[in-house]
């Protein structure tokens, strides 16, 4: 066995089989350099075995933190106030359907009006004139009524009579 092989076995001494352990022992007996390395490493292993255990500063606080981190009391509230993915997708789909329906209805209405008469702008204008005309007619009627009241006699049966 050469020193390189012996060095490997020194660092793996705990994992060796009987045959390897015997070979190492024999080499160390003959090689002062490897014997020194072996003694030094055994000394360190002894120290490693004595490395002090560490534990949490406050074990019960750590346990509480772990439990709180997993079972948050406000977890359900958070979930209920903020809509989930499926809810948000559903709302988006409904909105999209409504927008499309409105768009289609609007287009259909314009198409019908275009096919039967003047443009929507003219129709609106005409409609405006029509309303104004109606208002004028009503105004005339009220004025005519006021004029008529001058010569109006109130009958006993509360019926208005125009002269």
């Amino acid at each position: 066995m050469n020193c390189n092989r012996a060095e490997r076995l020194i660092y793996l001494e705990n994992e060796l089989n009987d045959r390897e352990r015997a070979q190492l022992k024999e080499h160390i007996h003959l090689c002062p350099s490897c014997a020194e390395l072996h003694a030094s490493y055994i000394g360190m292993v002894s120290e490693v075995n004595q490395v002090e255990d560490v534990s949490p500063v406050d074990a019960s606080r750590l346990t509480d933190n772990i439990m709180t981190g997993i079972f948050r009391p406000d977890e359900k509230i958070e979930r209920s106030t903020f809509p989930g993915l499926w809810t948000r997708l559903g709302l988006s789909a409904v909105s999209l359907v409504l927008i499309l329906s409105f768009y289609m209805e609007f287009n259909q209405a314009v198409a019908i009006k275009d096919s039967i008469g003047p443009s929507s702008r003219q129709v609106t204008h005409t409609a405006g004139t029509s309303i104004l005309k109606k208002k004028n007619e009503r105004t005339v009627s009220i004025l005519a009524l006021a004029e008529a009241r001058k010569g109006m006699n109130l009958s006993n049966n509360n019926n208005y009579e125009i002269d």
């Binding site: 490997r8 292993v45 534990s55 750590l62 933190n65 772990i66 981190g69 079972f71």
Partner: protein
């Protein structure tokens, strides 16, 4: 009083019994924290890592197999999480900053020697550090270590060799530097 077996506690936890999960935490948290601290060398980072380990345990509790040893599973989750942290750039830069501010002029008593051993372990690769922590500090067998790290036993031994050699060489170097003062 007879302790409830791990399997029963897991089943009760899965059924929503928080008290049973708390028992699992109380039973294993010292080990989880100790391993996390061995890897991360910082009380607060180790505590945060411990909390994260239990969050991962809770999320994966349904994967627990009958007959499996809960502590082995905990070692696995803890080691993997710590390796993730060790590999993160943020942690590496933090470690370098800490090393730069270390006091090199302290006396080499036994506590200091232990600190030097652990400090030397910080310079190892994540795999080397993992096998050193599990095999040499936690005292697990090579077989258990290979199972936890999902590594062949030959690979575990190879990493152990390099880990022990590097730590030993560093400690010998520190010792010579100190004895020359």
């Amino acid at each position: 009083m007879h302790e409830k077996p791990d399997k029963q506690l897991v089943q009760e936890s899965l059924a929503g019994n928080q008290a049973s999960f708390r028992l699992i935490v109380e039973r294993t948290q010292d080990m989880v924290y100790r391993v996390a601290f061995r890897f991360l060398k910082d009380l607060h980072v180790a505590e945060d890592a411990t909390q994260e380990v239990y969050l991962r345990l809770w999320k994966n509790l349904h994967k627990y197999r009958d007959g499996a040893k809960l502590t082995t599973w905990m070692y696995t989750i803890t080691t993997r999480h710590c390796l993730d942290i060790l590999k993160s750039q943020k942690f590496r830069s933090r470690l370098e900053t800490t090393e730069q501010t270390g006091n090199l002029s302290e006396e080499l008593d036994q506590v200091e020697l232990h600190n030097n051993i652990l400090k030397a372990a910080d310079a190892l690769t994540p795999k080397q550090k993992a096998v050193f922590v599990l095999r040499d500090l936690e005292g697990l067998s090579v077989k258990e270590t290979s199972r936890i790290l999902k590594m062949r036993e030959g690979n575990v031994k190879s990493n152990l060799y390099y880990a022990r050699k590097r730590i030993h060489e560093q400690v010998r170097k520190d010792y010579k530097v100190n004895t020359q003062k």
